[in-house]
Amino acid sequence: MSTSDATHLALYRQMVLIRRFEEEAARAYSQGKIGGFLHLYIGQEPIAVGAVAALQPDDYVITTYRDHGLALARGMTPRAAMAELFGKVTGCSKGLGGSMHFFDAEHHMLGGYGIVGGHIPIAAGTAFASKYREEKRVSMCFFGEGAVSIGDFHEGLSLAALWKLPIVFVCENNEYAMGTPLSRELSVEDVSTKALGYGMARDRFFADHVLTVRDRLAEAIERARELSEPTLVEIRTYRFRGHSMSDPGKYRTPEELEERKKRDAVLRSRADLEAAGMGADVEAAEKEIEDIVADAVRFAEESPEPGPGVARSDNV
């Protein structure tokens, strides 16, 4: 197996982990074992996985409430992730955060945030800190195209450009802000043009392949690391499930969904790896992931709940 094939297999494995984790989370949700909101990353896996492959381990990453994929790609254990969804004290945030608030400080995964756009200045602040300390560290901030109309997107980008902060803004454009299609959200179809008014570099491409995501983001990461300049990158993608578990998806046709599933980057990588003669490795990886996800669910079910003492804040 060549180095590049081994890398591709590892990235495929990560994407399968996310997909199978999300499918089992959906099942547990429908069984009433997970409460609140549950926003699945199914369909968007190549973005988190490709991005993490292009970053260094101590770079900062921050995302929205659709945060399971990035957390897992970054190295959070499936056990800590699933236990958080189950509200257990063994979860990454001790059962205090839930689906929308995954945090993993050890892996510099600085959170999932539930207010659309609110984390964009926060992400810029982590880049501000890196620059202040004269570190060559990059921040990467993920958000949907639904975030680009709100004020914090513009304030965050405006200040990042003004102060030349080492950050990559990644717009995961899945074409729907909850149930509102792009055409009814924005006056322009090309989200990356929002960078122009801030004098910021931009890029735009489809997340058809995990290696494309990795290589294109590497350019923006290099700009941040070497020149301390921000970039807005629009990555076109599609989510194969609803906005959250309560979304019946009536705003799009079954035909559209089926058509888009043909562009599934997970299947694309699988086909590529099989064609490269790695079918057995692919199947072994898939088998391993099944066990890991089953173990995570078992761990989450068996873990204890946090007691009232865990919720108490000693701030007051």
Binding site: Y60, G91, C92, S93, K94, G95, L96, G97, H101, F103, D104, A105, L110, G111, Y113, G114, I115, G118, H119, I120, P121, I122, A123, A124, G125, T126, A127, F128, A129, S130, Y132, R133, G151, D152, E155, G156, S158, L159, L162, A311, S313, N315, V316
Partner: protein, 327 residues
């Protein structure tokens, strides 16, 4: 000890802490080249340079969020709003990020940040520039709220706020900036948060207050003294955490309490103080607890009307007589 104005005490606290810790910096609108909208940061740009005294565009939500993000990964920002009124457009950042990050990350992250600005009424600045924002913020677990009344407390509490590992909101007052007082010069003069000060001892009635209203309460206490009424003035200094013990101790002595503050009467810190006293010292009370607050209207521009709306010493005197059944 040296005599300083309130604004100089705030500045001295910032300078000392910035010299002590390179992670501390000041950020806000007009804090650098303009020398501070109210001259609080005068001279600091020259002393620390543009890296640590940072002028921002008019982007309260943006620079608040950026500072929270920087604090989350280890810096210790001091965020100055031109006034607390403008923090309203950054409310989401303070409420949802600064206050929540520690708890919702299961304790993995801390946000060591100070937000500071003048608060409350100034002079005829109208309804949008006269808010008492402490009432909004003190409601939120995860935030600490300080409101000193004297230059010494201003310095000691701001230093404590900067050294704290969690968010602290620090309320100043445009009309207090020129007030003079003795201030310790010891660079480790740090006051504990959550400890009230007895600004004046008395035996007949307790007046609870903070920030500028402490001075108005003292004026009222002097007037009451002339009528043979001995008022004790408690300066809370810290609104969250709240010093319940000092309230109980005072009411145990006086059996009567009033709360005098700027800001509207509906809800708010005054209502919280009244709740604590009735709950913790019910048997000591000889009269209902009364509140003297900004009247329940948006602040009018007209000078006489503004004075009518803001609590004045005669209103405090009247309330004190009422709880003493001498009205």
């Amino acid at each position: 000890m040296s005599v300083m104005r309130f604004r100089e005490a705030v500045r001295a606290a910032m300078i000392e802490e910035m010299e002590r810790d390179s992670r501390v910096y000041l950020i806000g609108e007009e804090v650098g080249h303009y020398q501070g909208a109210y001259k609080v940061s005068e001279g600091m740009l020259e002393r620390f340079g543009e890296k640590r005294v940072i002028d921002t565009p008019i982007t309260e939500s943006g620079f608040t969020g950026i500072s929270i993000g920087a604090a989350m990964v280890g810096l210790r920002p001091i965020v100055e709003y031109m006034t607390w009124n403008f923090s309203a457009v950054a409310f989401d950042q303070i409420l949802n990020n600064a206050a929540k990050l520690r708890q919702m990350s299961g304790g993995q992250l801390h946000v060591p940040i100070v937000f500071r600005a003048p608060n409350g009424s100034a002079k005829q600045v109208g309804s949008q520039h006269s808010h008492s924002m402490e009432h909004f913020y003190a409601h939120v677990p995860g935030l600490k709220v300080l409101a000193p009344a004297t230059p010494a407390d201003a310095k000691g509490l701001l230093k404590a706020a900067i050294r704290d590992d969690d968010p602290v909101l620090y309320m100043e007052s445009e009309t207090l900036y020129g007030v003079k007082g003795e201030v310790p010069e010891d660079p480790d003069f740090v006051l504990p948060m959550g400890v009230a000060n007895v600004a004046r001892e008395g035996t007949d009635v307790t007046i609870v207050s903070w920030s500028r209203m402490v001075h108005v309460s003292l004026e009222a206490a002097n007037a009451l003294e002339k009528e043979g009424i001995s008022a004790e003035v408690i300066d809370l200094r810290s609104l969250r955490p709240l010093d319940e013990e000092s309230l109980v101790r005072s009411v145990h002595k006086t059996h009567r309490a009033i709360v005098a503050h700027e800001g509207w009467p509906y809800g708010g810190v005054g209502a919280e103080v009244a709740d604590r006293i009735q709950r913790l010292a019910f048997d000591d009370l000889d009269a209902p607890i009364l509140r003297v607050t900004t009247r329940d209207v948006p602040m009018p521009y007209n000078a006489k009307l503004e004075q009518y709306v803001i609590p004045q010493a005669p209103r405090i005197v009247e309330a004190a007589k009422k709880v003493l059944y001498r009205a």
